[in-house]
């Protein structure tokens, strides 16, 4: 074959598949101008009345932005509302107050005299310990349906529990009481709710975390890192201290031994998907950001991405799949917030932890163009495989062919060492692929599902009815439970 013929053939193939899907077809990512000269390493973002947006910086400033929803972002204006906060990671607006989770405490602040600057800083609770270690971060949630703020408290140096309640999730009630709620936390990067109001956080690869993951903060649960379990004697509501985990084990095995152990809902496989997962946003905008109602968006600091997660509850435990979604942000994403109009605001910082983004910090927004990418919408476990739901009807010939799919599976060593290689590799086989009558679903019959493993699906052969391949053909499903 002559070189000329080869290139002609390639072009022909590309043309027949239509032009490759790219992010800008579906989502418009824009940098929001920040106050000149300011170092805006964002830690939290809150929505305020009149479409104003408050942000906090790691240096401890709180700025309010006007115009971040506007068509012309060059018109945004900023005013400094507060300074001297202690590295807040969590903020929301409620009834005239901004509530903050700062490193040492939960605080609410407001401007009482109307001069545009906060003058009242009320400490609601400061009962957890800090000892001066920079790694003792605190990430706080929005209020739950009882008005409680959930805070996840990073271990000292991300390894130890040298200060009270390190490695715990605590709830702060509206009355300012602190309730120990979950143990077993290592190094959180964000906390948030799913659409049903259950609380989740992201935890980073490290000791007792083979990979980063999204975890369900079921009250009373143990999340896997035993360092903070020394505080059980001060948490009467939590019952007795859980059984100590065995080192160099597997989570599935330790779940049988430790009844409080709730396994990660969705493992974000290290380096492939997650390296430093952060914010959690549940889309409840009823389709204003695409057809992802009730799904989660997860910030990824290292990769400067926003990833997408679908969750389901099987045999009482959350599990689900993670997909690559939006990328190319200018710095490592930490906070994220979705406005009722669907706009997603993200903030980023590269200080201390690098990212694929090249700027030291960023504040951006993403809006949907109204065009939906061809994607796997949902991946759900079946007792003998998985059901895939697509965002548009699939081409029955390609999607009904098992050879259009591939699957591999693995898990991680559950150990006191830092991280884990992928182990216990398995290759489940796609025995059959059955396309639904409306073309939106495919039922994959799979031989060799492995409970507890991450199941990595690639669906590179699947085409939509107009011949497009999937924008993101990969999914990683954490099979904690196989439906009965």
């Amino acid at each position: 074959m002559s070189p000329l013929l080869t290139s002609t053939l390639c072009c022909g193939l590309l043309l027949s598949a239509g032009h490759a899907q790219q992010q800008s077809d579906f989502y418009v990512r824009e940098e929001i101008p920040i106050p000149p000269g300011e170092v805006m390493e964002l830690g939290s973002i809150a929505l305020m009345p009149d479409q104003k947006i408050a942000v906090t910086t790691r240096r401890g400033d709180l700025w309010i932005c006007t115009g971040a929803h506007g068509a012309d972002l060059s018109k945004v204006s900023w005013s400094k509302f507060a300074e001297g906060l202690h590295e807040p990671f969590g903020m929301f607006w409620k009834d005239g107050w901004l509530y903050l989770t700062q490193r040492p405490e939960v605080t609410r602040i407001k401007d009482s005299d109307g001069d545009g600057r906060a003058d009242t800083f009320e400490t609601l609770n400061s009962d957890w310990g800090i000892n001066g270690d920079y790694h003792e971060y605190a990430f706080g949630s929005d209020p739950d349906k009882n008005g409680d703020i959930w805070a996840v408290l990073c271990l000292t140096g991300s390894f130890h529990a040298h200060s009270p309640w390190r490695g715990w999730c605590v709830r702060i009630t509206p009355q300012g009481e602190m309730i120990p709620t979950c143990s077993g936390i290592r190094s959180p990067g964000g906390i948030g709710f799913n659409a049903d109001g259950d609380v989740f956080y992201t935890d980073n690869q490290g000791v007792w975390n083979g990979s980063s993951s999204l975890k369900w903060l079921k009250p009373g649960s143990f999340q896997g890192n035993p360092s903070g379990n020394i505080f059980y004697d001060q948490a009467k509501n939590m019952g007795p201290r859980p059984t100590e985990p065995n080192d160099k084990s597997r989570i599935l095995a330790e779940r049988q031994r430790i009844k409080e152990f709730v396994p990660p809902a969705v493992v974000l496989p290290h380096a492939k998907v997650g390296q430093s997962p952060t914010a959690i946003v549940a889309d409840t905008t009823k389709g204003k950001f695409g057809p992802w109602e009730k799904q989660l968006y997860i910030g990824e600091q290292t990769k400067s991405e926003l990833q997408r997660v679908c969750l389901e509850k099987v045999n009482g435990l959350y599990q689900g799949a993670v997909f690559h979604f939006l990328g190319g942000f200018e710095a490592g994403i930490v906070p994220a917030r979705q406005a009722p109009d669907g706009t997603v605001f993200v903030g980023g910082t590269n200080r201390g932890w690098g990212s694929n983004g090249t700027k030291p910090f960023t504040f951006e927004r993403v809006r949907w163009t109204g065009k939906t990418p061809f994607e796997i919408h949902t991946m759900s476990a079946l007792k003998d495989g998985f059901e895939l739901t697509f965002t548009e009807p699939v081409d029955p010939a390609s999607a009904g062919n098992p050879a259009s799919y591939a699957m591999d599976a693995w898990t991680y060593i559950y150990q006191a060492e830092y991280g884990s290689p992928e182990v216990d590799q398995a290759t489940p086989t796609i025995a059959a692929a059955t396309v639904s009558a409306d073309g939106k679903k495919v039922r994959l019959k799979i031989d060799g599902l492995v409970q507890g493993h991450v199941h990595h699906l690639t669906a590179k052969g699947v085409k939509s009815t107009n011949g497009s391949p999937l924008w993101h053909p990969e999914a990683w499903y954490t099979l904690n439970e196989i439906p009965r």
Binding site: P104, T120, Y134, H135, N350, R351, S355, Q415, E417
Partner: protein, 492 residues
């Protein structure tokens, strides 16, 4: 047998290439070290391109990847204080070998491949290693490679004498002359620890023509001359590693240039460090055995003319819940929200934010100003008392609030006329009376009615009828509900 003709090194590279080192580097390393090896975010992370740390003896880099690196590390004259997380439990030996092989052969690096066997051997030999390495530890075990002596034809001359400024060496006779073949100046070239001087001479290389900067630090005095022309000097007697370090610049053409460094040690500690930077040099090139202390950036946090500024972070001498206030007029306070008490007060500049605002922000930052006085090192209020935050007045002056049962202690601070802080304490609601220590860390004595001496530098003034009682040399204030007490802290 054609394979036999394959050179051994090529075979090793081929073995390592079974794993895609470039792809693995992108996945695991590039977010911090940068796709171009120059350190991500404009060099905010340690560069690997040209770095001696990843070249030469492969064991140094293997150890860093396996077990991580903790604490400060100098690369090209810049100190980085980040954490390299250990990768040994996550990345298998063949992949580590592929990554390091890639790093050692990229971006101008030209060191031999790392094999899986080398990684395996290093892992086995350090199986008991539980903590990350530190830079000094690694340097001792695996010194950085030096390609050519940084100062060619380096000689040292020793002089003995009792000098506090650099003498006129032309009038002196050296006791000894040595050739220093490593081409790095070092204080150990002297033959004693006090009362001596050294003169080094040699040649430095300017890779390209342009302006070169020399950074010099010494205990005690030193100066650098190039072509006999003074470039920079650390004068007089004083310590190393402080702001005595000096920079000086000179234009040089590409090629060799004579350098002369004069140094004197009076008494006590001794040290010297010198580095150069300029066109064609990656960061700073060390000309001394001891690395130069990098220039310390400062980000001074300061009040405006009419409003106080707040700095909430870890402050040296204060418990972790420290809240700093810098007031106009150069008076400052660090309140402890753990102890519900003022911990430190000082005058002059407020605080330097650079420790906490660059990289990860480890450790405590000391006040930037002078006359730092520790007022309290322990708790002022009973264990059940809780911090309830603060309010700011229109000038940004705080009133801290502590809750005691149903009552509150309000503790308001503002600047006084000059070198003064004015504190107003009010007990409201709840208890009818409360006693608090005023300065648990300072001996206190009564000077005159309403005037007490706190430690050496501070005077405390209050209205004469204020219920301050001295017990065992310490002052206690008795507060009555609803009756504010005004105290003035005055630096003498």
């Amino acid at each position: 047998m054609r394979q036999r003709l394959l050179p051994l090194s090529a075979a090793l590279i081929a073995a390592a290439a079974a794993q895609d080192g470039g792809q693995l580097y992108t996945s695991y390393c590039s977010a911090c070290h940068g796709p171009d090896g120059k350190g991500a975010t404009g060099g905010a992370f340690p560069p690997l391109a040209g770095s001696p740390w990843v070249q030469g003896d492969p064991e140094r880099a293997i150890k860093i990847v396996l077990h991580g690196l903790h604490g400060p590390i100098d690369v090209f004259g810049r100190t980085y204080n980040l954490e390299m997380p250990p990768q040994g439990a996550a990345i298998p030996d063949d992949q580590i070998a592929a990554i390091l092989t890639q790093v050692r052969a990229s971006w101008g690096n030209a060191s031999p491949a790392v094999t899986t066997e080398m990684v395996k051997a290093t892992r086995a030999a350090n199986a008991d290693r539980k903590t990350a390495w530190t830079a000094p530890e690694l340097l001792k075990l695996h010194p950085l490679p030096v390609s050519a002596p940084p100062i060619a034809k380096l000689t040292s001359r020793i002089y003995h004498g009792d000098w506090t400024t650099l003498p006129d060496f032309s009038k002196l006779e050296a006791r000894n002359i040595e050739e220093e073949n490593d081409g790095l100046i070092d204080v150990s070239h002297g033959d004693r620890e006090d009362l001596f001087a050294l003169v080094w001479e040699g040649e430095i290389q300017a890779p390209e023509s342009g302006t070169f900067t020399f950074r010099l630090d010494a205990d005690d005095g030193a100066r650098v001359l190039i072509h006999g022309k003074p470039v920079t000097e650390v004068s007089g007697i004083g310590p190393f590693g402080t702001n005595r370090a000096q920079n000086g610049s000179i234009d040089l053409s590409a090629g060799s240039h004579p350098i002369r460094i004069e140094y004197l040690e009076y008494m006590g500690q001794q040290d010297i460090a010198l580095a150069m930077k300029g066109p064609g040099i990656n960061g700073w090139r060390a000309l001394s055995q001891k690395p130069v202390q990098p220039e310390k950036p400062t980000i001074m946090v300061a009040p405006t003319a009419d409003r106080a500024v707040i700095y909430r972070n870890f402050i040296e001498g204060v418990s972790p819940r420290a809240i700093g206030f810098g007031f106009p007029g150069g008076v400052n306070l660090a309140y402890s929200a753990d102890h519900l008490a003022p911990a430190l007060i000082w005058t002059g500049e407020f605080i330097d934010g650079s420790r906490h605002w660059i990289e990860r922000g480890q450790g405590n930052q000391a006040p930037a100003g002078q006359r730092v006085v520790k007022l309290a090192s322990g708790r002022s209020l009973p264990p059940e008392a809780r911090f309830r935050g603060y309010k700011l007045d229109s000038a940004g002056n705080p009133t801290f609030s502590s809750q005691l049962g149903k009552g509150f202690l309000l503790d308001a601070w503002k600047p006084g006329s000059s070198a003064e802080l004015v504190r107003t304490l009010t007990l409201k609601d709840g208890a009818t009376a409360l006693e608090i220590p005023l300065a648990d860390s300072l001996p206190t004595r009564l000077l005159a009615p309403g005037v007490w001496q706190l430690g050496d530098t501070l005077e405390l003034r209050a209205e004469e009828n204020t219920a301050i009682e001295l017990r065992d040399g310490q002052a206690f204030l008795k507060l009555t509900n609803g009756q504010p007490v005004v105290l003035t802290y005055h630096w003498k």
